[in-house]
């Protein structure tokens, strides 16, 4: 009778199977929650990793592009340098060729100059010989004719001076009768003496004195006439005289 009354509360699982059946829902729920949390954690971490990886990738791509660009520029520069080097090489070749030509021309010119120099020396030498011969000839002639010629030349010079005075004497207006007469006489005397075979020093001295005195007389007569013209207000002839610097 007491066993029947004492079993009124919930009945506890007695066996392992019962116990497992009793705890299964809780265990399953816990497992599900754990899996969910693990999934969330993995998802978050993987997202971060992806982001970082993407960023790294972008960075590397940019660097790669920059490097490619630099490389391209360097290649271009290399090409330009190569072109310039080619040009310089060509120019160098041309210059070398020209230099060779000039050297050839210079050698030719030097040869010609040498030839001409020799020819010039020859001409110079011939000319010197000729001048020397001429001087010797002149010297001989001068020695032979010196005395007589010098006297005749002197008289001729006097005659020339007289000739220049002729127009002056003839152009004088006043008191020229005597001067004209003296002029004719002096000219005649000079001519006569120059024809003489033997001209003495006395002849020369006399003629020189007479010529000088005559020149002075003409000079004074002209000056007097000019002064008279000025006194008579002959301004026209005076201005002409000044303008001509007579």
């Amino acid at each position: 009778m007491s066993d029947a009354g004492g079993s009124a509360g919930p009945r506890l699982p007695q066996t392992f199977g019962e116990k497992l059946s009793f705890a299964a829902p809780v265990l399953l729920a816990t497992l599900a929650v754990s899996v969910l949390i693990a999934f969330v954690l993995v998802w978050v971490v993987s997202g971060q990793i992806r982001t970082e990886l993407k960023s790294t990738k972008d960075e590397l791509t940019a660097k790669n592009d920059a490097l490619a660009k630099d490389l391209s520029e360097e290649k271009k520069k290399t090409v330009d340098l190569q072109k310039k080097a080619d040009d310089l090489a060509k120019a160098n070749t041309d210059l070398a060729a020209k230099n060779e030509t000039l050297t050839g021309d210079l050698n030719k010119a030097a040869i010609k100059l040498d030839t001409q120099g020799k020819a010039l020396d020859k001409v110079s030498s011939t000319l010197s010989d000729f001048i020397k011969g001429q001087e010797e000839l002149d010297s001989r002639q001068n020695t032979d004719l010196a005395k007589h010629d010098s006297k005749i030349q002197y008289i001729e010079k006097r005659l020339e001076v007289l000739k220049t005075l002729e127009s002056d004497v003839n152009s004088l207006k006043d008191a020229t009768g005597e001067l004209k007469k003296d002029y004719v006489v002096l000219k005649k005397d000079l001519g006569d003496v120059s024809k003489k075979a033997e001209i003495t020093d006395k002849d020369l001295t006399d003629l020189t004195e007479r010529s000088r005195i005559f020149q002075l007389r003409v000079l004074a007569a002209r000056a007097k006439e000019a002064a008279d013209a000025a006194r008579n207000n002959d301004i026209k002839s005076l201005v002409q005289k000044l303008n001509s610097g007579e």
Binding site: V161, A220, R222, A230, V239, Q240, K241, L242
Partner: protein, 188 residues
Amino acid sequence: MNPIRTTVTLAFAVSLLMVAGCGFLKKEEGANRTILKAGWQVSDDMEGWVAVPNSAPKESKSEKGVGYYILSTHNIVPAKMDGFQAFSPKAFEKLSGIKVAEQKTPEGEMWAMRPAGRSVPKEKDGWIGVPLKYPKVEGGAGAILGADQLIPKEMDGWVAIDKETSAKLVEEFTLNQQTINKRKSEDK
């Protein structure tokens, strides 16, 4: 007839005539020029003359004692310089060896004395009126001056000398030149 009244009338008439007579410019005695007086009138025989400020050539003397006059534009040749010879500075230097300073006289005013009867303005008082006659220039370098002639602008700075001075200078000049020429011909 009142003798006092007649005398007064006659005196007035005579003084009126005298004033009227003095109102016309008169030539200087023995010269062909007149001195202008303010308010006086140009007479018939001066019509066409010109008047310029009273100025005369400046007298000068060289170190060698050669006396000469420097002419300026609108100088009037005074009677004492009648017949003088004028030379350009260059010609005079050649003739005498005297170098005169260059002159640049500004061209002054000339007052035309026409028509007859024209009154002399106050500011022209003391000016000299002369016929418009210039010396005749020969060869661009010389001229003979006449009394009362007017010196033109192109003769500004010219030198005037009397005949005797000119004769002496010309004689020296001719002697010097001929001596130089003679030496030159002898050198040849």
